[in-house]
């Protein structure tokens, strides 16, 4: 996470922020439950203010249907841990990038059978080139793209030429 819990001037505020991060770190993404929403990089900040806790969430894709479910789950989980006053803010800028997926998140994806994004997208051209995607089962680099799109907005569909297994690839954005 780029917005890791920052040391706050106020120790009790810092403790509250750390506690909230710990809660969010346990909250699974509804569509890829092996990932927490923190692994996914969609929790942009947590700020303990006098007016209450403030959490910045960014959607992965504009139309991701899980966004509202995630907001509801965040609100419920924080309320269950004493943050009933938490305020959720939608953060659009900078836009979410698959490069924000944590290292732990990438390892969890692979273990779950989803190939993690290969390279962060830094240019339009990079998006045009097909990345070399490794099979999450047998690690072979001999794979082919079946479809640009998969079971959720954030995934494409691939097949391994070596072991024959079809798999999801978490696409770069």
């Amino acid at each position: 996470m780029s917005d890791a819990p920052a040391a706050s001037a106020n120790p009790s505020a810092a403790a509250r922020e750390a506690q909230a991060w710990a809660v969010l770190n346990e909250l699974p993404d509804p569509e890829i439950p092996v990932l927490s929403i923190v692994d996914l990089g969609i929790v942009r900040y947590v700020r303990a203010t006098e007016a209450g806790l403030c959490v910045g969430l960014t959607p992965t894709y504009s139309g991701c249907p899980a966004t509202e479910i995630i907001r509801g789950q965040v609100r419920a989980a924080l309320a269950a841990h004493g943050f009933a006053d938490a305020r959720l803010e939608e953060v659009l800028s900078p836009p979410w990038s698959s490069a924000w997926l944590s290292a732990a998140g990438r390892a969890k994806l692979r273990a779950f059978g989803i190939a993690p994004p290969e390279e962060p997208v830094t240019s339009v051209r990079a998006l045009w080139q097909s990345p070399q995607v490794r099979c999450p089962r047998c690690a072979s680099a001999s794979t082919e793209r079946v479809s640009e799109f998969g079971s959720t907005p954030c995934k494409a569909h691939y097949r391994c030429r070596n072991c024959g297994e079809p798999f999801d690839y978490f696409k770069c954005l």
Partner: protein
Amino acid sequence: MSAPEPGDALRAAQLRYVLRLADTSLVLGQRLGEWVGHAPQLEEDLGLANLALDLIGQARLLLTYAGELEGRGRDEDALAFLRDAPEFLNLTLAEQPNGDFGHTIVRQWLIDTWQLQLYAGLSASSDARLAAIAAKALKETRYHHRFSSGWLVRLGDGTPQSHERMQQALDSLWRFTPELFAADEVDEVVCRAGIAPSLAQLQPAWSAQVDEELRAATLARPPAAPHPWYGKRGVHSEHLGHLLAEMQHLPRTFPGARW
């Protein structure tokens, strides 16, 4: 920058401008949604549904913002479901029927290439909210364009049959493209205020990209067409009313329905 617009005039133009962007995405997303369960292959079915999802997501962000600019308490749902055709300000191209798969691809590709230029320019808007929405939409549009331009080339440079159908689709849709760059007083006001890029300045890059990709697809660019279409002013082709009837039927029949 010339003399600033009076605040009310600028706000009114800004609202109409945001509604044009929102409605173009919403109507195109609704059209793509009609393919669900009918596309030639499962992969393309998923692809078109995913494009629709992104477009409707972008429309939601824009409509929510439009509702705030308007300040009359209308939210995204009220704007999407409770306006009639003359109040919709989408580009006429977006509402054109799907036709066959190739026709849908040509329509998508024309709008994708336009949105690529538009959102790149709009990412630098003086309106921070619009700039943020555009920067997010731009990333998604790049992926859409990869899909639509990929199919444009595969089908255009495919069999004689697929080539002919793609050329026919291009010939029938090209007449709607002048509207993409025809600036009226709304465009001029928001451009002067630094809210939107100049449409005239976007056109050469769009045109060059279109030519390059048409060449790769072995398709011929149709001759320049006059500009009789005014969807973005609320004057639509006969197709929009039917689309809205389907899209709005449920929320109008059961106001406030939830699931």
